[in-house]
């Protein structure tokens, strides 16, 4: 904790300004997600020196480099596995993973379910823009049915993943979702996830304007942002788990939160008992 809690939030305090201008396209939602993460970090008074941000590959993977913290740009799909080693070795660090829908649900899907199951104190932001944007706009596990991408030229026929239901079923002790349109709400979900002791999975519904929105006639940035409003089902609507998955017609806010023992603490407790036993013997 430091004294920044009292100071008003200025995103520049948390950015590597020498890295500007950033690489994100006009209208991309990832910048909003980045700002909301840093806003939450600020409000919780997390020390930048003790903040570790682990990213995968893709547009989401490039976001970490702008953060003035300990940042790790790892291999495709593996940031949760890197973060697992880092958090176990250095429980004193606040470990945040930034990943994308392809990084987290396709190539990294196995690591996601096991990270949820283990329940280490890691906060995972999955920036869902429904497409492999960095590689030019191929279909991803969250691309909606019938959407056009460079590898679904006749419309996507594959069903999509509901990442939050997956994380919930796999045992994540905190599951949240928010749209980039609702920046303060997104900040609050991230803040709650960071404050939660255990594995927090947060799906951030982002937008890819340039190669997904344009290709599917979804309008430009303002139209795509506005459609988040009309398509997002408020939590008051109740549980949509029984309904078929539709992108952007999902519950938002904190979807699940439960008390489960944090794995790192459990391991350290057992290790301490072993050490005591060994000491008593010698």
């Amino acid at each position: 904790m430091n004294d920044t809690l009292e100071a008003p939030f200025d995103v520049k305090d948390y950015l590597r300004l020498e890295m500007m201008p950033h690489f994100m396209c006009p209208g991309c939602g990832h910048g909003i997600a980045l700002r909301c993460l840093l806003w939450a970090v600020h409000e919780l008074g997390i020390d930048k020196d003790k903040l570790a941000v682990v990213c995968g590959i893709g547009c989401s993977g490039r976001v970490g480099a702008y953060i003035d913290a300990n940042t790790f740009h790892t291999t495709h799909g593996r940031p949760l596995a890197f973060a697992t080693g880092l958090k176990l070795a250095r429980p004193d660090l606040t470990v945040v993973v930034i990943t994308g829908d392809g990084d987290c649900l396709a190539i990294g899907g196995n690591h996601l379910i096991h990270a949820c199951r283990r329940n280490l104190d890691i906060t995972c932001l999955m920036l869902n823009n429904e497409v492999y944007a960095m590689t030019g706009g191929q279909v991803s596990p969250t691309t909606a049915i019938d959407r056009l991408t460079t590898t679904t030229p006749h419309g996507n026929a594959e069903p999509t993943f509901d990442a939050c239901r997956l994380a919930d079923a796999a045992g994540a002790s905190f599951v949240g979702r928010e749209v980039t349109r609702q920046a303060p709400a997104l900040k609050n979900v991230i803040k709650a996830g960071l404050a939660h002791e255990g594995f927090s999975f947060i799906e951030v519904m982002s937008d890819c304007t340039e190669i997904y929105g344009r290709k599917n006639d979804l309008g430009e940035s303002p139209e795509m942002i506005m459609s988040q409003k009309s398509d997002m089902r408020p939590e008051a609507f109740g549980n949509v788990a029984d309904e078929p998955f539709r992108a952007n017609r999902l519950r938002a806010g904190i979807i699940a939160q439960r008390d489960r023992p944090e794995y790192g603490s459990v391991y350290r407790l057992r290790a301490a008992a072993e050490q005591a036993k060994a000491k008593a013997k010698s």
């Binding site: 890295m19 682990v54 790790f72 740009h73 080693g85 958090k87 176990l88 070795a89 196995n110 050490q275």
Partner: protein
Amino acid sequence: MTTPSLASLHGNRACAAGAIAAGCRFFAGYPITPSSEIAEQMSRELPRAEGVFIQMEDEISSLAAVIGASLGGVKAMTATSGPGFSLMQENLGYAAMTEVPCVIINVMRGGPSTGMPTRPSQSDIMQTRWGTHGDHPVIVVAPASVQEIYDETIRAFNLAEEFRTPVIVLYDEVIAHLLESVVLPQRDTVPTLTRKWASGEETTFLPYAVTEDGVPVMARPGDGHRVHVTGLTHTPDGFPTQRPDLAAKATQRLLDKIEFNRDRIERNETFDLEDADVVIVAIGIVARAARRAVQELRSAGLRVGLFRPVTLWPFPEEALREAAARAKCLLVPEMNAGQLALEVERIVGPDRVARLNRIDGEPIAPGDIVRRIREIAA
């Protein structure tokens, strides 16, 4: 008590003991024959040594977790065999590129694919050198006895720390499960090295700056330097670049770091070489069989000697050239279809090099080598 103790261990147990003695405090791995005893031993020992063991969901994540722990400042390792080692290639390249110290044990079994899980092999010799994509440096050590597994595992950690690079300890299933006497020194007498940590002015620190020995100083999270680590080609400040001049420099420095320090990395053993007409070049358990063959052939009046690389990569080139200078023939016996022979041929030329290969899952016996050399001599 300052005297060393004598223990009866098999190779995999000696490996785990060496790792703990070297200061390893993190292990992530995935079960695979014939290496699993290392993970089992580490799962018992590490919590007692205030370290952490974790069994990951696969070998990809195992090496990822190891690198994550090492980035956090803890000496870390994994252990596997061929199929798992194949899965680790992606993050092996990442560790080489980002210069993260780590140790990977590869206990070789018969391949390709699932192959013969419980049978010995030496068919990963080239994979350890060229398995991951891109021009990258690598250090591989190849012990030939249980004692040497212990000693070389310690040296592997020291090399990884000194040169900020992944180091692979490569041995076959035979010595992995061979029971031998091992001298275990007192913990505080084991020579251990730790990477250079960054200190001083935070704002001017360059995480990949060129230093005298070519090895950059590492920043520990929490110490105030807040650096960026990426597998993308990067400049000394740690950030990506695609500028041709800077990209070339970055990759060249990675390679030079090992190339210019060969004398501190290379190690080899010779036996009866002085007047040898035939020089056997072998590693691991095959070198043990070769030693026996040398003795047998010597007593029959044939001048035979042995050259054994202990550091397999970078290959002790100069030492081999010297050893081969007056030899009429070099024989390369190995448990694969011919990998070590390729490197020997590259160094001394193909004319004098003969091969002896076994790919049936059986170790090469002294008698196999004796017969082959009698053939050559005839």
